[in-house]
């Protein structure tokens, strides 16, 4: 049995890095960067270890478990009360890996931040701690604790280090976007909070332990009432239509590394929450509401893709494409059959890596050019071949080219959907076709064709950006050509979700 302290370390490392940064004088910018990158690298290493040390076919639903009694035996909290109970299953394992990858790439890419970089990295590390915490917690109190922790630093990260967007007819200031994102996500935590109360009271076993709560029996009608609370609450974070509008605005305004982490990993927290709290806790409710969710998910796919087609701004296009791709995750989950849910989790990983790469590339371009309009560029391929290659790979993964991660994931989602809802499956494929339209159009417009003289002095991206991007691409390729490490872990745990199969 593996030691749960590795999981604790994924939370402790970023928290201690943040604490250490508090004591570094703000003027020592390079020390700050080194601490951040070292912490990022350590997390990358830890997450690789956790992913590969996870034993397939072990028989236990959760591995790397550890318990630490936090508050016990007093008052209404029962014997086990609030326990720091950590553990992962095959669904959380790839998510931990994803977080490690994106965190490391994010710290590399944030090397060039000059303005108050210490404060930036403190908040960034809090965000990372929150994300890891959600994926590894098996206690509702701590699950929610880390969930809120992941929202907490966003306002300042966007408000201080973000960028405003101006369009011909309107503008989106960074303060507006920061506030919108924060208020949406905090508002979304209201139904989750209420759902947690309800489940705790209904189960009446005096513990927040998720494993015990999963085993408890809930009245079918109770499940039908509470399940939507979790799905809406978590769904907001997953970009569920019609609660998705914070996502493009927020991700566009955020600084590059934060967009990477937020779109790449935080949106997955939402989908992960639907599995952990919704499907695992309340299977009858899930069964009842899934037709609704798959409809909304399909709208996500189509609506997001059409909106992305209409964008002229690189980053907004990527933002809407995230909304569209998260739709596949929701569709996959809603099929409630093994292959569809499997595909959804694969898509969570795939989209995480891919969208992180896209945001990183957009950021790399914007830092030099200070514009994000696709139409003003042209022929960048000749000036920045490495950059364009990376961007194109991300784009091709996004439209589902075989050999890259997106294909594996979306293929599973489509097969799953065709088994239960053939008509919606067809619409999903239509969404993939629209994706091809906007991705190829962007490639043609900005990267190929005759070079625009205005951009004659653009330089190739920096070494650190290249390294960060290359790591992300490596995992896209790994999943594309050799998905079995992922599929083995995920499939086993997916079958243990009640109601799937």
């Amino acid at each position: 049995m593996q030691s749960g302290y590795v999981l604790l370390a994924t939370i402790a490392v970023p928290l201690f890095a943040a604490l250490a940064l508090v004591f570094v004088p703000a003027r020592m910018a390079n020390v700050v960067r080194i601490i951040a990158v070292v912490a990022g690298f350590a997390l990358f290493g830890l997450s690789l270890y956790i992913f590969f040390a996870y034993q397939v076919g072990d028989g236990d639903q959760y591995q790397f478990q550890m318990r630490w009694n936090w508050i016990e035996n007093t008052g209404f909290l029962g014997e086990r009360g609030i326990t720091l109970h950590l553990g992962i299953d095959g669904i959380a394992a790839p998510m931990v890996l994803l977080t490690g990858i994106v965190t490391f790439a994010g710290t590399l890419i944030s090397w060039k931040i000059d303005y108050r970089n210490r404060d930036f990295f403190i908040l960034f590390m809090l965000l990372v701690a929150g994300v890891f915490g959600v994926f590894v917690s098996l206690d509702l109190f701590f699950w929610f604790f880390f969930y809120e922790l992941a929202v907490l630093p966003m306002y300042l990260l966007i408000g201080v280090w973000g960028a405003s967007s101006t369009f011909p007819t309107f503008s989106r200031t960074k303060e507006y976007s920061a506030l919108k994102l924060t208020m949406y996500l905090v508002a979304a935590s209201v139904p989750i909070f209420v759902g947690i109360f309800a489940v705790f009271v209904e189960a009446d076993i005096g513990t927040f332990d998720l494993v015990s709560l999963h085993e408890a029996q809930y009245d079918p009608n109770f499940q039908k009432v509470v399940f939507p609370l979790f799905v809406i609450g978590c769904g907001v974070l997953a970009g569920l239509w019609p609660f998705h509008t914070w996502s493009p605005d927020g991700h566009v305004a955020a600084p590059t590394a934060v967009s990477m982490l937020h779109a790449g990993v935080l949106m997955k927290l939402g989908a992960f929450g639907i599995i952990r709290l919704g499907m695992q806790l309340l299977p009858v409710g899930a069964e009842f509401w899934m037709p609704m969710l798959i409809t909304l998910g399909t709208i996500n796919v189509i609506y997001g893709a059409i909106s992305a087609t209409a964008q002229t701004d690189f980053k907004y296009m990527v933002g809407y494409s995230s909304v569209s791709h998260m739709g596949y995750v929701l569709m996959g989950l809603a099929t409630m059959n093994p292959i569809g849910v499997n595909g959804a989790v694969l898509q969570m990983f795939s989209h995480g890596v891919m969208t992180a790469l896209m945001f990183a590339m957009v950021g790399a371009l914007y830092d030099q050019a200070h514009v994000r309009q696709m139409s003003v560029f042209g022929g960048l391929a000749q000036r920045m071949p490495r950059f364009v290659t990376f961007f194109a790979i991300a784009g091709l993964a996004s439209l589902g080219l075989p050999g890259l991660s997106g294909f594996v994931a979306e293929f599973n989602v489509f097969v799953g959907t065709f088994q239960t809802y053939p008509a919606l499956g067809a619409l999903g494929i239509l969404g993939a076709a629209i994706t091809a339209v906007y991705i190829l159009r962007m490639l043609a417009l900005a990267f190929f064709g005759p070079p625009n003289e205005r951009w004659a002095d653009l330089k190739e991206m920096t070494t650190l950006e290249t390294v960060g991007g290359a790591i992300l691409i490596a995992f896209m390729l790994l999943m594309g050509v050799f998905p079995s490490p992922f599929v083995d872990r995920i499939a086993e745990s997916v079958l243990q979700i009640p109601g799937v199969g």
Partner: protein, 480 residues
């Protein structure tokens, strides 16, 4: 009951010492020639902390003081709580009192005296003792609020506070007389016994009495609709006293309410539960919604503290041993957080003399440490994790939901979200807006130290508050 009059006065030693401390402070100020008045706050704080340490060894539940006072763990909890708060307020006052107010001796003496009142509000188990303690606290506060006597706002605030306070006291007393009329005793135990022996009939006197008691105490803790004095008193009072009002005065009100309702009125639960539940609901909603429109930091904190009172009332509505423990736990977290916020506001006001929210712009550049502490305190007040607010609110709301008041918890969660909005508006000024002048300001080491100590407390309660939670549970276990 008053069986023997051979009372063990040694139990009251901490309060005797507090009285002595108050006299000492005045004497130092008046009679010791050449005494540096700047030392007074430190003498006061040191005395208070020494008494806090001393009170830790002073509990004995066997001697009940003829049923008037109980020196049990509950009293102990509040002794420590109130003396610590008063010590922090004394230190926070140092600069302001020296520079802007006259007669420092009386100021600190009143602060110490009010603490005695607050402690006995928690200790009293008899209606008139409770009332007299309440008045001791209130009279000290009336003077302290209007202490800046050449400032029109301070006078206005003090006047409103005193007039409405007197009115509330009258209501409270009238309520007590009705209760006494019905139950035939002023001792909590006797009242409970009288009520449990049969109040099947619809008892108008009891209902009136409960309503009047609630109105009177609702005024003291600033529950809507008895909150009208709060923003004015908060705005007019010297800043440290504003902090004190939001901490001790509220906590003492709740200490009294909790002891009274759990001790005397549990048998007639059905008659008052709906009253407190509705008070809690409107207090939460109104306090938080009105806070949205404030542009003065003191008024913002005033309304936000009204919202907080709503959360605490909720625990009273769902009264049980669990919620009482959760209430004490939440109150401790809230007071530490609020003192941290006030430390920043006081420091900024000392340095710049300004109190509008927009005057805080660029604080992160000019006083980074204070801005960070202030941000932590505001996030804590809105209930974000790592900070006290998340943990205490989670426990409190959960306990309330457990007692069957899920609807109140839902309102509370929604209002916490609303509160985040106005706290973010302040945080925006701190971090995002450009500073008026770019240069760093020098914050006195005392205030920096206090801010760091308080924020450490905020993190303690927010991350691993095991001991505090156990202390709160221990303190309330014997109330029922």
């Amino acid at each position: 009951m008053p069986s023997e009059l051979n009372l063990d006065y040694s139990l009251l030693a901490p309060e005797f010492c507090l009285g002595g401390l108050a006299a000492l402070v005045i004497a130092l100020d008046l009679f010791v020639p050449g005494f540096r008045k700047g030392w007074l706050p430190y003498v006061t704080a040191a005395g208070l902390l020494a008494i806090m340490g001393m009170s830790l060894g002073w509990t004995d539940v066997d001697s009940d003081f003829a049923g008037l006072l109980y020196i049990d763990k509950y009293t102990l909890f509040f002794r420590v709580f109130f003396t610590a708060t008063a010590a922090a307020v004394a230190l926070l006052s140092a600069q302001l009192v020296k520079e802007r107010l006259r007669h420092p001796g009386e100021y600190y003496a009143l602060l110490v005296l009010s603490t005695i009142g607050a402690i006995y509000m928690a200790a009293a188990r008899e209606l008139l003792t409770a009332y007299i303690s309440l008045e001791l606290l209130s009279f000290s506060l009336y003077v302290l609020v209007s202490y800046a006597k050449f400032d029109a706002k301070s006078n206005e605030g003090g006047m409103k506070y005193m007039l409405l306070g007197a009115f509330a006291s009258a209501l409270f007393l009238y309520g007590l007389s009705l209760i006494y009329g019905g139950a035939g005793s002023t001792f909590y135990d006797d009242i409970a016994a009288a009520y449990s022996n049969g109040t099947d009939a619809y008892d108008l006197g009891l209902l009136m009495g409960l309503a009047l008691v609630l109105a009177g105490l609702g005024f003291k803790v600033a529950a809507v609709p008895f909150h009208m004095w709060t923003p004015d008193a908060y705005e007019g009072a010297p800043l440290p006293i504003t902090g004190y009002l939001s901490a001790t005065s509220k906590a003492a009100g709740f200490a009294l309410l909790l002891r009274l309702f759990s001790g005397a009125f549990m048998p007639v639960l059905d008659d008052w539960q709906w009253m407190i539940a509705s008070l809690a609901a409107i207090t939460m909603v109104l306090g938080n919604l009105v806070a949205l429109q404030q542009h003065n930091i003191k008024r913002l904190l005033a309304y936000s503290s009204i919202g907080q009172v709503g959360y605490m009332l909720m625990a009273l509505a769902a009264l049980s041993a669990d919620t009482a423990g959760a209430l004490l736990f939440h109150m401790a977290g809230y007071v530490i957080t609020n003192m941290a916020a006030f430390t920043c506001v006081i420091a900024w006001s000392n340095l710049t003399g300004k109190e509008e929210i927009r005057d805080y712009r660029g604080m992160a550049v000019r006083a980074p440490l204070l801005a960070a502490v202030f941000t932590a305190a505001l996030f804590s007040l809105s209930g974000m994790p790592l900070f006290a607010g998340f943990f205490t609110k989670f426990i409190l709301f959960q306990a309330v939901a457990q007692e069957g008041f899920l609807w109140l918890s839902v309102i509370a969660v929604i209002m916490s979200m609303v509160s985040l909005y106005y706290y973010l508006m302040v945080i925006k000024e701190l971090y995002i807006s450009e500073p008026e002048e770019p240069d760093l300001v020098r914050v006195p080491a005392l205030l920096n130290g206090l801010a760091v100590a308080l924020v450490a407390g905020v993190f303690y309660v927010g991350i691993y508050p095991r001991h505090l939670y156990e202390a709160a549970q221990e303190a309330t276990k014997l109330l029922f």
